[in-house]
Protein backbone atom coordinates (compact mmCIF):
# COMPACT_ATOMS: atom_id res chain seq x y z
CA UNK A 1 0.00 0.00 0.00
CA UNK A 2 1.43 3.33 -1.00
CA UNK A 3 1.33 5.77 1.84
CA UNK A 4 0.58 9.40 1.16
CA UNK A 5 2.78 11.91 2.90
CA UNK A 6 0.26 13.52 5.19
CA UNK A 7 -1.21 11.31 7.87
CA UNK A 8 -4.97 11.43 8.34
CA UNK A 9 -4.65 11.12 12.07
CA UNK A 10 -1.61 11.87 14.12
CA UNK A 11 -1.13 11.31 17.82
CA UNK A 12 1.69 12.98 19.67
CA UNK A 13 2.43 11.75 23.16
CA UNK A 14 -1.23 11.24 24.03
CA UNK A 15 -1.88 10.47 27.66
CA UNK A 16 -5.05 9.71 29.51
CA UNK A 17 -4.97 9.54 33.29
CA UNK A 18 -7.99 8.91 35.44
CA UNK A 19 -7.80 10.46 38.86
CA UNK A 20 -8.39 8.20 41.85
CA UNK A 21 -10.27 10.10 44.47
CA UNK A 22 -10.47 9.08 48.06
CA UNK A 23 -10.84 10.23 51.60
CA UNK A 24 -13.56 12.44 53.01
CA UNK A 25 -12.70 15.42 50.86
CA UNK A 26 -12.51 13.40 47.64
CA UNK A 27 -8.99 14.54 47.02
CA UNK A 28 -7.03 13.12 44.15
CA UNK A 29 -4.77 10.46 45.57
CA UNK A 30 -3.25 9.13 42.41
CA UNK A 31 -3.89 8.38 38.79
CA UNK A 32 -4.76 5.33 36.76
CA UNK A 33 -2.56 5.68 33.75
CA UNK A 34 -4.82 4.24 31.10
CA UNK A 35 -2.93 5.59 28.11
CA UNK A 36 0.69 6.53 28.50
CA UNK A 37 2.50 8.54 25.88
CA UNK A 38 1.13 7.11 22.65
CA UNK A 39 2.38 8.49 19.36
CA UNK A 40 1.00 7.17 16.12
CA UNK A 41 0.40 8.18 12.55
CA UNK A 42 -2.53 6.79 10.66
CA UNK A 43 -2.65 7.18 6.89
CA UNK A 44 -5.69 7.40 4.73
CA UNK A 45 -7.12 4.12 3.52
CA UNK A 46 -5.22 1.84 5.84
CA UNK A 47 -6.44 -0.33 8.67
CA UNK A 48 -4.47 -0.23 11.84
CA UNK A 49 -5.04 -2.93 14.39
CA UNK A 50 -4.58 -2.11 18.05
CA UNK A 51 -4.09 -5.23 20.14
CA UNK A 52 -3.32 -6.00 23.73
CA UNK A 53 -4.85 -7.74 26.70
CA UNK A 54 -7.88 -6.31 28.46
CA UNK A 55 -7.12 -3.24 30.48
CA UNK A 56 -4.18 -2.17 28.35
CA UNK A 57 -5.89 1.04 27.32
CA UNK A 58 -6.79 0.27 23.75
CA UNK A 59 -10.45 1.22 24.11
CA UNK A 60 -9.55 4.32 26.08
CA UNK A 61 -7.21 5.34 23.29
CA UNK A 62 -10.04 4.97 20.78
CA UNK A 63 -12.39 7.03 22.91
CA UNK A 64 -9.79 9.69 23.47
CA UNK A 65 -9.27 10.06 19.73
CA UNK A 66 -13.01 10.48 19.27
CA UNK A 67 -13.15 13.06 22.00
CA UNK A 68 -15.40 11.00 24.25
CA UNK A 69 -12.63 11.25 26.79
CA UNK A 70 -10.48 14.30 27.09
CA UNK A 71 -6.79 13.60 26.71
CA UNK A 72 -4.79 14.48 29.82
CA UNK A 73 -1.81 15.46 27.74
CA UNK A 74 -0.53 15.24 24.19
CA UNK A 75 -1.88 16.37 20.89
CA UNK A 76 -4.23 14.77 18.41
CA UNK A 77 -4.17 16.03 14.84
CA UNK A 78 -6.85 15.18 12.35
CA UNK A 79 -6.27 16.24 8.75
CA UNK A 80 -3.49 18.48 10.01
CA UNK A 81 -5.65 20.30 12.47
CA UNK A 82 -5.26 19.87 16.16
CA UNK A 83 -8.51 18.59 17.61
CA UNK A 84 -7.47 17.67 21.13
CA UNK A 85 -7.89 21.25 22.37
CA UNK A 86 -11.04 22.17 20.47
CA UNK A 87 -14.05 23.22 22.51
CA UNK A 88 -17.02 20.90 22.37
CA UNK A 89 -18.99 23.08 19.95
CA UNK A 90 -16.32 23.20 17.28
CA UNK A 91 -15.81 19.47 17.53
CA UNK A 92 -19.09 18.70 15.88
CA UNK A 93 -17.71 18.99 12.37
CA UNK A 94 -14.98 16.52 13.25
CA UNK A 95 -17.42 14.14 14.81
CA UNK A 96 -18.89 13.79 11.34
CA UNK A 97 -15.52 12.67 10.07
CA UNK A 98 -14.79 10.18 12.84
CA UNK A 99 -17.19 7.49 13.83
CA UNK A 100 -17.15 4.49 16.07
CA UNK A 101 -18.48 0.96 15.90
CA UNK A 102 -19.04 -0.49 19.33
CA UNK A 103 -18.37 -3.89 20.75
CA UNK A 104 -21.82 -4.81 21.92
CA UNK A 105 -24.19 -4.01 19.07
CA UNK A 106 -27.20 -4.49 21.30
CA UNK A 107 -26.07 -2.19 24.07
CA UNK A 108 -25.11 0.52 21.61
CA UNK A 109 -28.64 0.89 20.24
CA UNK A 110 -31.41 2.65 22.15
CA UNK A 111 -33.87 -0.17 22.97
CA UNK A 112 -36.89 2.16 22.65
CA UNK A 113 -35.98 3.52 19.25
CA UNK A 114 -36.82 1.95 15.94
CA UNK A 115 -33.89 1.25 13.67
CA UNK A 116 -35.11 3.69 11.03
CA UNK A 117 -35.44 6.46 13.58
CA UNK A 118 -32.05 5.66 15.09
CA UNK A 119 -30.34 5.94 11.73
CA UNK A 120 -32.28 9.04 10.73
CA UNK A 121 -31.23 10.73 13.92
CA UNK A 122 -27.67 10.89 12.63
CA UNK A 123 -28.89 13.09 9.80
CA UNK A 124 -31.10 15.14 12.09
CA UNK A 125 -28.06 15.99 14.18
CA UNK A 126 -25.67 16.81 11.37
CA UNK A 127 -27.66 17.79 8.30
CA UNK A 128 -30.72 19.74 7.32
CA UNK A 129 -32.31 17.00 5.24
CA UNK A 130 -36.05 16.72 5.04
CA UNK A 131 -37.85 13.71 6.44
CA UNK A 132 -38.28 12.15 3.00
CA UNK A 133 -34.61 12.63 2.12
CA UNK A 134 -33.54 11.10 5.38
CA UNK A 135 -35.81 8.14 4.91
CA UNK A 136 -34.49 7.51 1.45
CA UNK A 137 -30.91 7.74 2.62
CA UNK A 138 -31.57 5.37 5.51
CA UNK A 139 -33.17 2.79 3.24
CA UNK A 140 -30.15 3.08 1.00
CA UNK A 141 -27.84 2.58 3.99
CA UNK A 142 -29.76 -0.47 5.16
CA UNK A 143 -29.32 -1.97 1.75
CA UNK A 144 -25.64 -1.17 1.72
CA UNK A 145 -25.00 -3.09 4.93
CA UNK A 146 -27.10 -6.03 3.78
CA UNK A 147 -30.35 -5.36 5.61
CA UNK A 148 -33.82 -5.10 4.13
CA UNK A 149 -36.27 -2.24 3.85
CA UNK A 150 -38.71 -3.95 6.16
CA UNK A 151 -36.16 -3.72 8.97
CA UNK A 152 -36.74 0.03 9.05
CA UNK A 153 -39.56 -0.18 11.57
CA UNK A 154 -38.15 -2.81 13.88
CA UNK A 155 -36.76 -2.47 17.34
CA UNK A 156 -33.18 -3.52 18.15
CA UNK A 157 -34.30 -6.56 20.13
CA UNK A 158 -35.89 -8.01 17.01
CA UNK A 159 -32.51 -8.47 15.34
CA UNK A 160 -29.77 -11.06 15.64
CA UNK A 161 -26.30 -10.10 16.81
CA UNK A 162 -24.86 -9.94 13.34
CA UNK A 163 -27.76 -7.83 12.06
CA UNK A 164 -27.38 -5.43 14.95
CA UNK A 165 -23.74 -5.00 14.18
CA UNK A 166 -24.73 -4.22 10.60
CA UNK A 167 -26.96 -1.48 11.98
CA UNK A 168 -24.03 -0.19 14.03
CA UNK A 169 -21.95 -0.12 10.86
CA UNK A 170 -24.71 1.65 8.93
CA UNK A 171 -24.87 4.29 11.63
CA UNK A 172 -21.12 4.74 11.62
CA UNK A 173 -20.82 5.17 7.86
CA UNK A 174 -23.99 7.26 7.47
CA UNK A 175 -22.17 10.57 7.30
CA UNK A 176 -19.36 9.33 5.07
CA UNK A 177 -16.65 9.63 7.67
CA UNK A 178 -12.99 9.22 6.82
CA UNK A 179 -12.01 7.43 10.01
CA UNK A 180 -13.93 4.66 11.71
CA UNK A 181 -12.83 3.30 15.05
CA UNK A 182 -13.97 -0.28 15.52
CA UNK A 183 -13.86 -1.00 19.22
CA UNK A 184 -13.90 -4.80 19.44
CA UNK A 185 -16.47 -4.61 16.67
CA UNK A 186 -16.58 -8.33 15.97
CA UNK A 187 -15.55 -9.76 19.33
CA UNK A 188 -19.10 -10.37 20.52
CA UNK A 189 -20.12 -12.28 17.41
CA UNK A 190 -20.00 -15.92 16.36
CA UNK A 191 -17.06 -16.88 14.23
CA UNK A 192 -19.17 -17.36 11.11
CA UNK A 193 -20.89 -14.01 11.61
CA UNK A 194 -17.53 -12.42 12.34
CA UNK A 195 -16.35 -13.40 8.90
CA UNK A 196 -19.42 -11.81 7.28
CA UNK A 197 -19.03 -8.59 9.21
CA UNK A 198 -15.33 -8.38 8.40
CA UNK A 199 -16.11 -8.89 4.75
CA UNK A 200 -18.70 -6.13 4.96
CA UNK A 201 -16.22 -3.81 6.65
CA UNK A 202 -13.69 -4.49 3.92
CA UNK A 203 -16.22 -3.90 1.13
CA UNK A 204 -17.25 -0.62 2.69
CA UNK A 205 -13.64 0.40 3.11
CA UNK A 206 -12.99 -0.10 -0.57
CA UNK A 207 -16.11 1.74 -1.58
CA UNK A 208 -15.69 4.78 0.66
CA UNK A 209 -11.92 4.82 1.09
CA UNK A 210 -12.30 4.49 4.83
CA UNK A 211 -9.54 4.32 7.36
CA UNK A 212 -10.04 1.87 10.19
CA UNK A 213 -8.65 1.84 13.66
CA UNK A 214 -9.40 -1.72 14.57
CA UNK A 215 -9.25 -2.32 18.29
CA UNK A 216 -9.27 -5.99 19.13
CA UNK A 217 -7.81 -8.67 21.32
CA UNK A 218 -8.22 -11.26 18.59
CA UNK A 219 -4.87 -11.52 16.88
CA UNK A 220 -6.18 -13.83 14.20
CA UNK A 221 -8.80 -11.34 13.05
CA UNK A 222 -6.35 -8.46 13.16
CA UNK A 223 -3.86 -10.32 11.04
CA UNK A 224 -6.47 -10.91 8.42
CA UNK A 225 -7.91 -7.43 8.51
CA UNK A 226 -5.17 -4.89 9.15
CA UNK A 227 -2.22 -3.47 7.23
CA UNK A 228 -0.37 -2.45 10.33
CA UNK A 229 -0.62 -3.59 13.91
CA UNK A 230 0.06 -1.68 17.09
CA UNK A 231 0.65 -3.70 20.24
CA UNK A 232 -0.12 -2.07 23.56
CA UNK A 233 0.77 -3.08 27.09
CA UNK A 234 -0.36 -1.27 30.22
CA UNK A 235 -1.21 1.91 28.36
CA UNK A 236 2.06 2.10 26.45
CA UNK A 237 2.84 1.24 22.88
CA UNK A 238 5.10 -1.77 22.66
CA UNK A 239 5.50 -2.56 18.99
CA UNK A 240 4.20 -1.25 15.69
CA UNK A 241 4.81 -2.97 12.37
CA UNK A 242 3.10 -3.94 9.13
CA UNK A 243 1.08 -7.02 9.95
CA UNK A 244 2.96 -9.53 7.79
CA UNK A 245 6.19 -8.33 9.35
CA UNK A 246 4.85 -8.38 12.88
CA UNK A 247 3.44 -11.85 12.59
CA UNK A 248 6.53 -13.23 10.84
CA UNK A 249 9.11 -11.45 12.86
CA UNK A 250 7.91 -10.15 16.23
CA UNK A 251 10.66 -8.36 18.10
CA UNK A 252 9.28 -7.38 21.45
CA UNK A 253 9.09 -10.22 23.99
CA UNK A 254 5.48 -9.26 24.79
CA UNK A 255 4.46 -9.50 21.15
CA UNK A 256 6.20 -12.86 20.92
CA UNK A 257 4.28 -14.12 23.92
CA UNK A 258 1.00 -12.83 22.50
CA UNK A 259 1.58 -14.42 19.12
CA UNK A 260 2.56 -17.73 20.64
CA UNK A 261 -0.85 -17.79 22.30
CA UNK A 262 -2.76 -17.92 19.01
CA UNK A 263 -4.16 -21.41 18.67
CA UNK A 264 -2.98 -23.09 15.51
CA UNK A 265 -5.19 -25.59 13.76
CA UNK A 266 -2.34 -27.97 12.90
CA UNK A 267 -2.10 -30.73 15.47
CA UNK A 268 1.22 -32.08 14.20
CA UNK A 269 3.19 -28.89 14.43
CA UNK A 270 4.76 -28.39 17.80
CA UNK A 271 5.20 -24.85 18.79
CA UNK A 272 6.79 -23.17 21.68
CA UNK A 273 4.30 -21.45 23.92
CA UNK A 274 5.75 -18.53 25.79
CA UNK A 275 3.95 -18.26 29.06
CA UNK A 276 3.86 -14.97 30.89
CA UNK A 277 4.16 -15.26 34.63
CA UNK A 278 2.13 -13.16 36.99
CA UNK A 279 -0.67 -10.71 36.41
CA UNK A 280 -0.92 -7.40 34.68
CA UNK A 281 0.51 -4.80 37.08
CA UNK A 282 -1.88 -2.26 38.56
CA UNK A 283 -2.10 0.67 36.13
CA UNK A 284 -2.47 3.00 39.10
CA UNK A 285 1.00 1.99 40.17
CA UNK A 286 2.91 0.90 37.08
CA UNK A 287 6.38 -0.55 37.50
CA UNK A 288 9.31 1.75 37.08
CA UNK A 289 11.35 1.47 33.91
CA UNK A 290 9.90 -0.71 31.19
CA UNK A 291 6.27 -1.43 32.13
CA UNK A 292 6.72 -5.01 30.97
CA UNK A 293 9.84 -5.86 32.97
CA UNK A 294 7.92 -7.61 35.76
CA UNK A 295 6.77 -10.32 33.39
CA UNK A 296 9.43 -10.17 30.72
CA UNK A 297 11.51 -13.34 30.23
CA UNK A 298 14.57 -11.39 29.09
CA UNK A 299 14.44 -8.43 31.46
CA UNK A 300 17.72 -7.04 32.72
CA UNK A 301 18.66 -4.56 35.42
CA UNK A 302 18.45 -1.76 32.90
CA UNK A 303 14.80 -2.54 32.16
CA UNK A 304 13.93 -1.97 35.80
CA UNK A 305 15.40 1.51 35.77
CA UNK A 306 15.05 3.02 32.34
CA UNK A 307 12.00 3.33 30.22
CA UNK A 308 12.81 2.00 26.76
CA UNK A 309 12.64 4.41 23.88
CA UNK A 310 10.25 4.10 20.98
CA UNK A 311 12.57 3.48 18.09
CA UNK A 312 12.44 2.37 14.50
CA UNK A 313 14.51 -0.81 14.21
CA UNK A 314 13.55 -1.71 10.65
CA UNK A 315 11.65 0.35 8.08
CA UNK A 316 8.20 0.98 9.53
CA UNK A 317 8.90 -1.36 12.41
CA UNK A 318 8.90 0.35 15.77
CA UNK A 319 9.68 -1.27 19.10
CA UNK A 320 10.06 -0.11 22.66
CA UNK A 321 12.57 -2.50 24.18
CA UNK A 322 16.14 -2.23 25.41
CA UNK A 323 17.02 -5.71 24.27
CA UNK A 324 16.06 -5.23 20.64
CA UNK A 325 18.65 -3.58 18.48
Amino acid sequence: MSQPQQPLLKLEGVKKYYPIKGGILQRVQGYVKAVENVSLEVFEGESIGIVGESGCGKSTLGRTILGLEKATDGKIFFKNQEISNLPEKKRKTFKKEMQMIFQDPYASLDPRQRIGAALEEVFVIHTKMTKAEREERVLQLLKEVGLKEEHYDRYPHEFSGGQRQRIGIARAIALNPSLVICDEAVSALDVSVQAQIIKLLKDIQEKHRLTYLFISHDLGVVRHFCNRVLVMYLGSTVELAPSHELYANPLHPYTKALLSAIPRPKPGVKKERIRLEGDLPNPANPPKGCPFHTRCPIATERCKQERPEWKEVAPNHYVACHEVQ
Binding site: Q99, D104, E121, E150, Y155, G168
Partner: protein, 301 residues
Protein backbone atom coordinates in the same frame (compact mmCIF):
# COMPACT_ATOMS: atom_id res chain seq x y z
CA UNK B 1 -44.92 -12.79 13.82
CA UNK B 2 -48.38 -12.06 12.47
CA UNK B 3 -47.29 -8.52 11.73
CA UNK B 4 -44.56 -9.76 9.43
CA UNK B 5 -47.10 -11.63 7.34
CA UNK B 6 -49.28 -8.55 7.11
CA UNK B 7 -46.32 -6.51 5.97
CA UNK B 8 -45.51 -8.84 3.14
CA UNK B 9 -48.95 -8.79 1.59
CA UNK B 10 -50.01 -5.22 2.28
CA UNK B 11 -46.72 -3.35 2.10
CA UNK B 12 -44.94 -1.32 4.71
CA UNK B 13 -47.53 1.31 5.77
CA UNK B 14 -49.57 -1.33 7.58
CA UNK B 15 -46.42 -2.52 9.28
CA UNK B 16 -45.64 0.98 10.50
CA UNK B 17 -49.01 1.42 12.13
CA UNK B 18 -49.04 -2.06 13.62
CA UNK B 19 -45.64 -1.62 15.16
CA UNK B 20 -46.42 1.80 16.60
CA UNK B 21 -49.17 0.34 18.76
CA UNK B 22 -47.15 -2.59 19.84
CA UNK B 23 -45.54 -1.37 23.03
CA UNK B 24 -48.71 0.07 24.54
CA UNK B 25 -50.73 -2.91 23.48
CA UNK B 26 -48.35 -5.42 25.04
CA UNK B 27 -48.24 -3.44 28.27
CA UNK B 28 -52.01 -3.21 28.40
CA UNK B 29 -52.39 -6.90 27.63
CA UNK B 30 -50.07 -7.81 30.44
CA UNK B 31 -51.84 -5.45 32.79
CA UNK B 32 -55.18 -7.05 31.94
CA UNK B 33 -53.83 -10.46 32.86
CA UNK B 34 -53.45 -9.24 36.42
CA UNK B 35 -56.93 -9.71 37.94
CA UNK B 36 -56.40 -7.37 40.86
CA UNK B 37 -55.19 -4.65 38.52
CA UNK B 38 -58.33 -5.10 36.41
CA UNK B 39 -60.47 -4.54 39.51
CA UNK B 40 -58.43 -1.42 40.29
CA UNK B 41 -58.74 -0.23 36.72
CA UNK B 42 -62.52 -0.62 36.83
CA UNK B 43 -62.72 1.41 40.06
CA UNK B 44 -60.56 4.13 38.53
CA UNK B 45 -62.69 4.23 35.40
CA UNK B 46 -65.84 4.49 37.53
CA UNK B 47 -64.30 7.38 39.44
CA UNK B 48 -63.33 9.13 36.21
CA UNK B 49 -66.83 8.66 34.81
CA UNK B 50 -68.32 9.96 38.05
CA UNK B 51 -66.06 12.99 37.92
CA UNK B 52 -66.86 13.82 34.31
CA UNK B 53 -70.59 13.16 34.37
CA UNK B 54 -71.24 14.30 37.96
CA UNK B 55 -74.16 16.65 37.08
CA UNK B 56 -75.99 13.77 35.36
CA UNK B 57 -75.14 11.02 37.81
CA UNK B 58 -75.89 12.96 40.97
CA UNK B 59 -79.53 12.81 41.99
CA UNK B 60 -79.52 16.03 44.01
CA UNK B 61 -77.63 19.27 44.33
CA UNK B 62 -74.64 18.29 46.53
CA UNK B 63 -74.65 21.50 48.56
CA UNK B 64 -78.37 22.15 48.86
CA UNK B 65 -79.55 21.77 52.43
CA UNK B 66 -82.88 20.25 53.34
CA UNK B 67 -83.21 20.12 57.10
CA UNK B 68 -86.53 18.29 56.90
CA UNK B 69 -84.70 15.26 55.51
CA UNK B 70 -81.54 15.35 57.63
CA UNK B 71 -79.66 12.25 58.78
CA UNK B 72 -81.68 9.82 56.71
CA UNK B 73 -80.11 6.33 56.85
CA UNK B 74 -78.87 4.35 53.88
CA UNK B 75 -81.47 3.08 51.39
CA UNK B 76 -83.98 5.77 52.23
CA UNK B 77 -86.52 6.81 49.65
CA UNK B 78 -84.87 9.08 47.04
CA UNK B 79 -81.55 9.05 48.91
CA UNK B 80 -80.07 5.59 48.52
CA UNK B 81 -76.95 6.51 50.49
CA UNK B 82 -78.90 8.55 52.97
CA UNK B 83 -78.42 12.21 53.85
CA UNK B 84 -76.10 14.11 56.20
CA UNK B 85 -76.95 16.30 59.16
CA UNK B 86 -78.03 19.15 56.86
CA UNK B 87 -80.14 16.85 54.72
CA UNK B 88 -77.73 16.92 51.75
CA UNK B 89 -77.83 13.82 49.57
CA UNK B 90 -74.81 11.60 50.35
CA UNK B 91 -74.71 9.97 46.90
CA UNK B 92 -74.55 13.34 45.16
CA UNK B 93 -71.82 14.51 47.51
CA UNK B 94 -69.81 11.34 46.91
CA UNK B 95 -70.13 11.80 43.15
CA UNK B 96 -68.99 15.42 43.26
CA UNK B 97 -66.32 14.47 45.77
CA UNK B 98 -64.90 12.07 43.19
CA UNK B 99 -64.42 15.08 40.92
CA UNK B 100 -62.60 17.05 43.63
CA UNK B 101 -60.21 14.29 44.62
CA UNK B 102 -59.47 13.30 41.03
CA UNK B 103 -58.73 16.86 39.94
CA UNK B 104 -56.58 17.62 42.99
CA UNK B 105 -54.79 14.29 42.53
CA UNK B 106 -54.08 14.83 38.84
CA UNK B 107 -52.98 18.44 39.29
CA UNK B 108 -50.70 17.73 42.21
CA UNK B 109 -49.17 14.62 40.66
CA UNK B 110 -48.51 16.33 37.33
CA UNK B 111 -46.96 19.36 38.99
CA UNK B 112 -44.88 17.11 41.21
CA UNK B 113 -43.83 15.03 38.21
CA UNK B 114 -42.85 18.06 36.18
CA UNK B 115 -40.61 19.32 38.95
CA UNK B 116 -39.32 15.94 40.08
CA UNK B 117 -38.55 14.61 36.60
CA UNK B 118 -36.72 17.78 35.60
CA UNK B 119 -34.67 17.87 38.79
CA UNK B 120 -33.99 14.14 38.58
CA UNK B 121 -32.84 14.37 34.97
CA UNK B 122 -30.54 17.30 35.68
CA UNK B 123 -29.14 15.76 38.85
CA UNK B 124 -28.56 12.41 37.21
CA UNK B 125 -27.02 13.72 34.02
CA UNK B 126 -24.90 16.63 35.18
CA UNK B 127 -22.54 15.56 37.89
CA UNK B 128 -21.96 19.13 38.98
CA UNK B 129 -25.64 19.77 39.68
CA UNK B 130 -26.08 16.43 41.39
CA UNK B 131 -24.71 17.44 44.78
CA UNK B 132 -26.67 20.66 44.94
CA UNK B 133 -30.02 19.29 43.77
CA UNK B 134 -29.86 16.16 45.87
CA UNK B 135 -29.04 18.14 49.03
CA UNK B 136 -32.13 20.29 48.45
CA UNK B 137 -34.10 17.11 47.94
CA UNK B 138 -32.65 15.68 51.15
CA UNK B 139 -33.79 18.81 52.92
CA UNK B 140 -37.35 18.26 51.69
CA UNK B 141 -37.09 14.62 52.74
CA UNK B 142 -36.20 15.64 56.27
CA UNK B 143 -39.80 16.68 56.93
CA UNK B 144 -42.44 14.01 57.42
CA UNK B 145 -44.74 14.16 54.38
CA UNK B 146 -47.96 15.40 55.86
CA UNK B 147 -46.12 17.90 58.08
CA UNK B 148 -44.40 19.37 55.06
CA UNK B 149 -47.75 19.73 53.35
CA UNK B 150 -49.22 21.36 56.47
CA UNK B 151 -46.26 23.72 56.63
CA UNK B 152 -46.79 24.77 53.03
CA UNK B 153 -50.52 25.26 53.62
CA UNK B 154 -49.73 27.28 56.72
CA UNK B 155 -47.71 29.58 54.49
CA UNK B 156 -50.08 29.66 51.52
CA UNK B 157 -53.37 29.47 53.37
CA UNK B 158 -56.11 26.84 53.33
CA UNK B 159 -57.93 25.77 50.20
CA UNK B 160 -57.87 23.01 47.61
CA UNK B 161 -55.51 24.82 45.25
CA UNK B 162 -52.96 25.19 48.00
CA UNK B 163 -53.45 21.56 48.95
CA UNK B 164 -52.59 20.60 45.38
CA UNK B 165 -49.49 22.78 45.46
CA UNK B 166 -48.45 21.39 48.84
CA UNK B 167 -48.84 17.78 47.71
CA UNK B 168 -46.98 18.45 44.48
CA UNK B 169 -44.04 19.95 46.36
CA UNK B 170 -44.07 16.98 48.64
CA UNK B 171 -43.98 14.63 45.61
CA UNK B 172 -40.95 16.31 44.07
CA UNK B 173 -38.18 14.77 46.21
CA UNK B 174 -39.33 11.16 45.85
CA UNK B 175 -39.81 11.59 42.13
CA UNK B 176 -36.45 13.33 41.71
CA UNK B 177 -34.71 10.46 43.48
CA UNK B 178 -36.39 7.79 41.41
CA UNK B 179 -35.62 9.57 38.15
CA UNK B 180 -32.06 10.35 39.16
CA UNK B 181 -31.47 6.70 39.94
CA UNK B 182 -32.72 5.57 36.54
CA UNK B 183 -30.78 8.29 34.77
CA UNK B 184 -27.59 7.28 36.53
CA UNK B 185 -27.98 3.70 35.36
CA UNK B 186 -29.01 4.63 31.81
CA UNK B 187 -26.45 7.35 31.27
CA UNK B 188 -23.57 4.88 31.35
CA UNK B 189 -25.12 2.55 28.80
CA UNK B 190 -23.29 2.20 25.56
CA UNK B 191 -26.06 3.68 23.45
CA UNK B 192 -25.71 6.98 25.26
CA UNK B 193 -21.99 6.89 24.58
CA UNK B 194 -22.81 6.05 20.97
CA UNK B 195 -25.05 9.12 20.76
CA UNK B 196 -22.25 11.25 22.14
CA UNK B 197 -19.88 9.79 19.59
CA UNK B 198 -22.36 10.78 16.90
CA UNK B 199 -22.28 14.35 18.16
CA UNK B 200 -25.76 14.54 19.71
CA UNK B 201 -26.39 17.48 22.02
CA UNK B 202 -26.98 16.99 25.73
CA UNK B 203 -30.60 18.12 25.43
CA UNK B 204 -31.21 15.55 22.69
CA UNK B 205 -29.60 12.80 24.74
CA UNK B 206 -31.54 13.69 27.87
CA UNK B 207 -34.99 14.10 26.35
CA UNK B 208 -34.88 11.71 23.41
CA UNK B 209 -32.85 8.86 24.82
CA UNK B 210 -32.68 8.98 28.59
CA UNK B 211 -36.23 10.13 29.38
CA UNK B 212 -38.02 7.52 27.23
CA UNK B 213 -35.89 4.82 28.78
CA UNK B 214 -36.77 5.75 32.34
CA UNK B 215 -40.46 6.27 31.60
CA UNK B 216 -41.50 2.97 33.17
CA UNK B 217 -40.59 3.86 36.77
CA UNK B 218 -42.08 7.33 36.25
CA UNK B 219 -45.42 5.89 35.14
CA UNK B 220 -45.50 3.52 38.09
CA UNK B 221 -44.57 6.32 40.46
CA UNK B 222 -47.27 8.60 39.06
CA UNK B 223 -49.97 5.95 39.52
CA UNK B 224 -48.91 5.12 43.05
CA UNK B 225 -48.61 8.81 43.82
CA UNK B 226 -52.21 9.39 42.73
CA UNK B 227 -53.26 7.15 45.61
CA UNK B 228 -51.10 9.06 48.06
CA UNK B 229 -52.25 12.40 46.70
CA UNK B 230 -55.93 11.50 47.01
CA UNK B 231 -55.37 10.17 50.51
CA UNK B 232 -53.43 13.28 51.51
CA UNK B 233 -56.09 15.58 50.08
CA UNK B 234 -58.64 13.77 52.18
CA UNK B 235 -56.40 13.91 55.26
CA UNK B 236 -55.73 17.60 54.90
CA UNK B 237 -59.40 18.33 54.28
CA UNK B 238 -60.27 16.21 57.31
CA UNK B 239 -57.98 18.43 59.35
CA UNK B 240 -59.77 21.44 57.92
CA UNK B 241 -56.81 22.60 55.85
CA UNK B 242 -58.16 21.62 52.44
CA UNK B 243 -61.65 21.84 51.08
CA UNK B 244 -63.82 24.28 53.00
CA UNK B 245 -67.50 23.65 53.62
CA UNK B 246 -69.79 23.21 51.85
CA UNK B 247 -67.49 21.73 49.16
CA UNK B 248 -68.27 18.03 48.86
CA UNK B 249 -64.87 16.52 49.61
CA UNK B 250 -64.50 13.02 51.02
CA UNK B 251 -62.10 13.90 53.83
CA UNK B 252 -64.16 16.89 54.85
CA UNK B 253 -67.28 14.70 54.79
CA UNK B 254 -65.68 12.31 57.27
CA UNK B 255 -64.74 15.22 59.49
CA UNK B 256 -68.30 16.52 59.39
CA UNK B 257 -69.71 13.08 60.03
CA UNK B 258 -67.63 12.11 63.03
CA UNK B 259 -69.84 14.08 65.43
CA UNK B 260 -72.73 11.87 64.35
CA UNK B 261 -70.83 8.57 64.53
CA UNK B 262 -73.38 6.95 66.87
CA UNK B 263 -76.54 8.29 65.34
CA UNK B 264 -75.64 8.21 61.61
CA UNK B 265 -72.54 6.08 61.02
CA UNK B 266 -73.07 6.15 57.26
CA UNK B 267 -71.92 9.80 57.20
CA UNK B 268 -68.37 8.67 57.96
CA UNK B 269 -68.43 5.14 56.63
CA UNK B 270 -69.57 5.96 53.09
CA UNK B 271 -66.89 8.55 52.24
CA UNK B 272 -64.38 6.39 54.10
CA UNK B 273 -65.16 3.46 51.81
CA UNK B 274 -64.94 5.75 48.79
CA UNK B 275 -61.45 6.91 49.78
CA UNK B 276 -60.37 3.38 50.58
CA UNK B 277 -61.56 1.96 47.27
CA UNK B 278 -59.89 4.66 45.18
CA UNK B 279 -56.59 4.50 47.05
CA UNK B 280 -56.64 0.73 46.81
CA UNK B 281 -57.38 0.93 43.08
CA UNK B 282 -54.50 3.25 42.26
CA UNK B 283 -52.07 1.21 44.33
CA UNK B 284 -53.10 -2.04 42.73
CA UNK B 285 -52.92 -0.61 39.22
CA UNK B 286 -49.51 0.88 40.03
CA UNK B 287 -48.31 -2.55 41.14
CA UNK B 288 -49.73 -4.14 38.01
CA UNK B 289 -48.07 -1.52 35.83
CA UNK B 290 -44.76 -2.16 37.46
CA UNK B 291 -44.94 -5.80 36.45
CA UNK B 292 -46.33 -5.01 33.00
CA UNK B 293 -43.63 -2.45 32.26
CA UNK B 294 -40.75 -4.60 33.40
CA UNK B 295 -38.20 -3.90 30.66
CA UNK B 296 -36.90 -7.45 30.57
CA UNK B 297 -40.30 -8.94 30.01
CA UNK B 298 -41.13 -6.14 27.63
CA UNK B 299 -38.19 -6.64 25.34
CA UNK B 300 -37.70 -10.37 25.29
CA UNK B 301 -41.17 -11.70 24.58
Amino acid sequence: METGAVAKTDGTPVLVRKKKEKMYVTTLKRLLKNKLAVVGLIIIIIQILMAIFAPWIATHDPVKQNLAESELPIFSDGHWLGTDNYGRDMWSRIVYGARVSLVVGIVSVSLGLAGGVLLGLLAGYYKKLDGLIMRIVDLLFAFPGILLAMLIIAILGTGLVNVAIAISIWSIPTCARIVRGSVLSIKNREYILAMKALGASNARIIFKHILPNCLAPIIVFATMRMATAILSTASLSYLGLGAQPPTPEWGAMIAAGQDFMWTSPHMTVVPGIAIMLVVFAFNVVGDGLRDALDPNMDLNN
